[in-house]
């Protein structure tokens, strides 16, 4: 999502909008004002459609208020004047933001409704502040690893930290990113409407703060992007001090001596990295039989060997935390564990704090879904592969879409943004289906874990069903010059592919900067690049990217048919 922040003010003020103020004449329709939003390819801006003469007059708004503007700038050019907006997005998180920026690029008149703070979970209570904490934990880890430092010839005396300073860093980062996000939308001319958005009926939304007058607006299309909140299972009493969710943990109001983390997914794993680096001891409580469910098993095994076993972490697997009582009256936090299968009481723990990281629940309260007869499934809003909302009878609700955590397809900020962009493509007349298998995911532990596509068991299952062969190639970071120079040789990259045609099914990386390395693979999947083609791509030496280079080169593809390689360009 950070890509969207690269928008600069200078370019955004030049966004053509029929409005008022300055006039600008341009020579030719393919405007020089090609902007890149969200890393999408350049596209002629929608405004150029109405007039295509040599001396078109483009009217530029420098502020971004369009009181009298009709929505007629959209592609079909025949939009009825009746609508206040072409597109209204409910929820200004990363998904809504991504959709809004792309909508502006496509020339849609766009508004975004936010009942809380711009930026949503990711920016305020999720990925962004946690990256600040992890940046601290990574450095602490390095400074504390005498063995590692010695191997580099460094001598450092005891490293310490100031909790408030660390907490401030996380908080400052969140507010900085939030401001960037807000400014980028304002500058582009997206209307930011404050209040809780409620759908009143087809193409009609009301918004407003509780207790204040409500405004009703109409929109040609509506996107729901209300996101999610931390999920707290029954029996767990969250007091925000000793029994906390990620929302509280990111404020880092305390660093307990011993903290139990319920759930060993991304969130739990990242927090275990932070807490152990800051001196806490951690106990994981995982309902499934092994830690880190959801990761490729081999990667999970290696990750456990590096991220769990040598650290001050122990774990209980196959158990539910049936009851968690916060610390009070001089007693510690008490956690009762029951067997995940038999439900029999198994154990009880007494710790200083408990972090509930059992996943996230969609946030759809007050959205007015009943007005359009949509029934949530386990809280999620049902959608088809084009993010179109499905009602209780299984019919598509016209002009209504849902993206991001609220639909539960893939609960990642950048997935929400990609879904939003996909929706905007559709409403501007271009059919688009997002390939979720090309969306990478990363866990920012030290070292990092990243993945795209299928895990090995998933790929084998699919192969079984569809009758193709699956191969696996692996390379180690121990063979990479740059990793060795950094003295960070621990790591593995794994490629799951079809040896018959060279299709990449999945890539999993555990190692230094894995989160940055995955994109070569995710781009290849998104663009349909085959291994036999990508293996000829050149990587700078010595860089970590050679880990993937080696990976592609070590794959054995017996495709005889030369795939369509793009024409070589002489330069």
């Amino acid at each position: 999502m950070h890509s969207s922040l690269s928008l600069s003010f200078s370019s955004s003020t030049a966004i053509p909008r029929s409005g008022h103020s300055s006039e600008l004449s341009c020579a030719a329709p393919p405007s020089p004002l090609n902007l890149r939003f969200c890393g999408l390819r350049r596209e002629a801006l929608g405004f150029s459609s109405p007039k295509r003469n040599d001396s078109c007059r483009v009217i530029v708004s420098s502020r971004g208020r369009f009181k009298k503007v009709s929505a007629s700038v959209s592609d079909n050019g025949s939009a009825p004047k009746a609508f206040d907006y072409d597109l209204v997005i409910i929820g200004a998180g990363v998904g809504g933001h991504g959709a809004a920026l792309h909508a502006v690029e496509k020339g849609l008149k766009t508004a975004i409704i936010e009942g809380d703070v711009v930026g949503g979970t990711c920016v305020n209570r999720g990925c962004v502040p946690s990256k600040a904490l992890l940046a601290v934990s990574g450095r602490m880890r390095e400074l504390q690893s005498e063995h590692h430092l010695k191997a580099l010839g460094l001598q450092v005396s005891a490293a310490g930290y100031d909790r408030q300073g660390v907490a401030d860093h996380a908080n400052n980062l969140a507010s900085k990113i939030r401001n960037n996000l807000t400014n980028s939308m304002k500058a582009l001319g997206v209307d930011i409407l404050t209040g809780v958005g409620t759908i009143l009926g087809p193409q009609k939304v009301k918004y407003g703060k509780v207790g204040f007058s409500e405004n009703v607006i109409t929109a040609k299309n509506i996107i729901i992007a209300t996101g999610s909140v931390p999920f707290v299972p029954k029996g767990i009493e969250v007091d925000g001090k000793t029994v906390i969710t990620s929302d509280h943990a990111l404020k880092l109001e305390s660093v307990p001596d011993w903290i139990a983390i319920v759930g060993s997914g991304y969130i739990g794993l990242e927090f275990s990295d932070v807490y152990t680096a800051l001196g806490s001891e951690v106990t994981f409580i995982e309902a499934l039989d092994q830690l880190m469910p959801g990761f490729d098993p081999e990667i999970g095994k290696l990750a456990q060997r590096v991220l769990i076993n040598p650290r001050k972490i122990d774990y209980h697997t196959g158990v539910f935390a049936s009851k968690i009582t916060p610390a009070k009256d001089g007693k510690p936090v008490r956690i009762e564990l029951i067997d995940a299968k038999t439900k029999e009481p198994k154990d009880a723990l007494e710790v200083d704090a408990a972090l509930i990281a059992t996943g996230r629940a969609p946030f759809t309260n007050g959205l007015g879904l009943e007005n359009i007869s949509v029934v949530t499934q386990r809280g999620f809003i049902p959608v088809d592969e084009r993010m179109r909302v499905i009602d209780a009878d299984g019919n598509l609700v016209p002009h209504l879409y849902c993206i991001g955590d609220a639909n539960g397809k893939m609960m990642l900020a950048h997935a929400a943004s990609a879904q939003g962009i996909s929706v905007v493509e559709q409403v501007t007349g271009k059919d688009h289906v997002l390939n979720h298998l090309s969306i990478p995911a990363a866990c920012f532990t030290h070292p990092e874990i990243s993945m795209v596509g299928l895990t090995e068991p998933q790929a084998r299952e699919k192969a079984e069903k569809e009758g193709f062969e699956v191969s696996v190639a692996k390379t180690s970071f121990k063979a990479n010059t740059k990793a060795l120079a950094e003295n960070e040789g621990e790591g593995l990259a794994k490629l799951i592919y079809r040896p018959d045609n060279g299709e990449i099914l999945g890539v999993h990386i555990f190692g230094l900067h894995a989160a940055d390395l995955i994109h070569e693979a995710s781009n290849a999947i998104a663009l349909g690049t085959r291994i036999q083609d990508i293996k000829f791509a050149v990587h700078a030496h010595p860089t970590l990217s050679e880990v993937l280079d080696e990976l592609f080169k070590s794959a054995k593809v017996h495709a005889h048919v030369p795939s369509p390689v793009s024409e070589p360009v002489t330069v």
């Binding site: 909790r163 001891e281 972490i313 692996k474 063979a479 010059t481």
Partner: protein
């Protein structure tokens, strides 16, 4: 940095997925004295136990591997293993490899734990064939464990292996008060890990942490080791809860803590670099040689004049002194000799002058080989190269350990005289002080002011006697006072 050296380390057999089998041998049992391990069960007959305990060795995963690190044990003590199963993950220089067993059996004991290092071929675990043998294997492991592979006569209070039901564990010192009643034992994750690592029975540890929980410090106290930060314990600078400053880590588990004076608060402990460790070792070794010292004044006016003349040609004072010493040594071969065994003289065929150099907090002695044969200019050239190499840490071993005589010069700091320690393997070392204007009388009784430098030679009295040294110094003084021969 993108260079023609597109060196890529290729790994032939890629990654963690590979398995290597270790070889194991049949050891025929009781090399250990049972009376130690089973103090109260001596009635059991030794001869009935024909154990089939196999040792699991650290495998050689590559031709260059000399030692391996246990990444993790996949199996734990007591697990039943079948042939071909992965047992342990070993880190080689290239990758982590799963090591599998050749035999069926029960993993009786882990001798080398997670994260520890063992030389190739050393036993890292013991495999018992039947359950009955587990106790034996454990006893065996407890003797060989945590010390060098050939089991030394173990002290009676060797590690208590608490998990062995057959063995009555000798209670460790701090085991006194076990919390009474059926109260659950609460130990923090790291405390449990430490207890496993040091084979401390967690049930016998008294918890002093909040709510009576057992903290890592409690386990360390029970294991008899001083709290150390060597295991990567986080140092948290929070004002309130900082533990007392940790003293030097007692590396070996269970090492009887030697009564070291308590550290002065606020002191920091910085480990030796490799070079500093080598210096320390050599200096202690030097104490075994009986040395004596002889000093001699040398007038340096002519040498100084010569130095001024040749300086523009790149000649250094070090080269001049080395050359002079080498020429004197040529006439007194015994001072260039060394005593290797306390019984013989070893006369060296070449005169190699080692020159002590302080560098980056360390001390190294680059060697000017054949200093008597090379002319002053070549010698100076050579010296320059050596110093550059030393600075870049690129000296080859023969360039710093082939000296037959050492020169140490502190004159540039104004030191007028000092006493050098004789490096092991050499016969003598010369300590050179500063050259200072001094009032001297000549044989006719005339006073004059001359530059005088004090040199002090430390020598091995087993081979070099006072008269030898005196004669050598006289020759050296003559050469320095008439330095024309140096340029020949």
């Amino acid at each position: 940095m993108a260079s023609p050296l597109l060196s890529r380390v290729s790994i032939s057999n890629a990654t963690a997925g590979n398995t290597i089998s270790f070889s194991s041998s049949v050891s025929n049992g009781l090399l250990w004295r049972r009376s130690i391990a089973f103090p109260d069960k001596s009635s059991r007959k030794v001869s009935t136990v024909q154990a089939k305990i196999r040792e699991i060795f650290m495998p050689a995963l590559s031709s260059t591997m000399t030692e391996g690190k246990i990444v993790s044990w996949i199996k734990s003590e007591g697990d039943v293993l079948s042939k071909g199963e992965s047992v342990v993950v070993v880190e080689s220089d290239k990758a982590d490899m799963d090591v599998e067993t050749f035999y069926d059996g029960i993993l009786a004991a882990i001798v080398v734990g997670d994260g520890e290092v063992a030389p190739v071929g050393a036993p890292i675990g013991l495999l018992a064939e039947t359950e009955e043998e587990i106790a034996e294997a454990k006893a065996k492991a407890s003797k060989s464990g945590s010390s060098a592979p050939p089991p030394p006569p173990a002290p009676a209070a060797a590690s208590a292996s608490p998990a062995a039901p057959a063995v009555a564990p000798p209670k460790s010192a701090a085991s006194a008060a076990v919390p009474d009643g059926p109260k659950k034992i609460v130990a923090t994750p790291f405390a449990k890990k430490l207890a496993k690592q040091h084979k401390v029975d967690i049930g016998s540890v008294v918890g002093t942490g909040p709510f009576g929980r057992i903290t890592p410090a409690d386990v360390e106290a029970a294991a008899g080791i001083s709290p150390s930060k060597s295991t990567g314990v986080n140092v948290v600078s929070s004002v309130a809860a900082a533990p007392a400053p940790a003293p030097v880590a007692a590396a070996a588990p269970k090492a009887a803590a030697s009564p070291a004076p308590p550290p002065i608060p606020g002191s920091t402990v910085v480990p030796f670099t490799t070079m500093q460790a080598a210096v320390s070792k050599n200096m202690v070794e030097s104490l075994s040689v009986p040395t004596f010292r002889v000093g001699y004044p040398v007038l340096t006016d002519k040498l100084d004049a010569l130095y001024e003349k040749v300086k523009p040609k790149g000649v250094t004072m070090t080269a001049l002194l080395a050359k002079a010493a080498a020429m004197a040594l040529a006439q007194h071969p015994v001072v260039n000799a060394s005593c290797k065994d306390g019984k013989t003289f070893t006369y060296n065929s070449s005169i190699n002058i080692a020159v002590a150099v302080a560098i980056n907090g360390g001390l190294i002695t680059p060697v000017l080989q054949d200093a008597d044969k090379l002319d002053l200019y070549l010698l100076s050239q050579k010296w320059k190269e050596l110093v550059e190499k030393a600075r870049a840490k690129q000296l080859q071993p023969h360039e710093y350990n082939s000296g037959t005589f050492t020169l140490s010069n502190l004159g540039m700091f104004g030191v007028d005289r000092f006493d050098a320690i004789l490096p092991p393997g050499q016969g003598a070392i010369m300590a050179v002080g500063a050259s200072k204007p001094t009032v001297v009388t000549d044989k006719d009784g005339f006073f004059s002011v001359k530059s005088k430098m004090l040199v002090n030679v430390t020598a091995d009295h087993r081979i070099i006697y006072g008269a030898d040294l005196a004669a050598f110094l006289q020759t050296f003084a003559k050469i320095v006072e008439n330095p024309e021969s140096l340029t020949l």
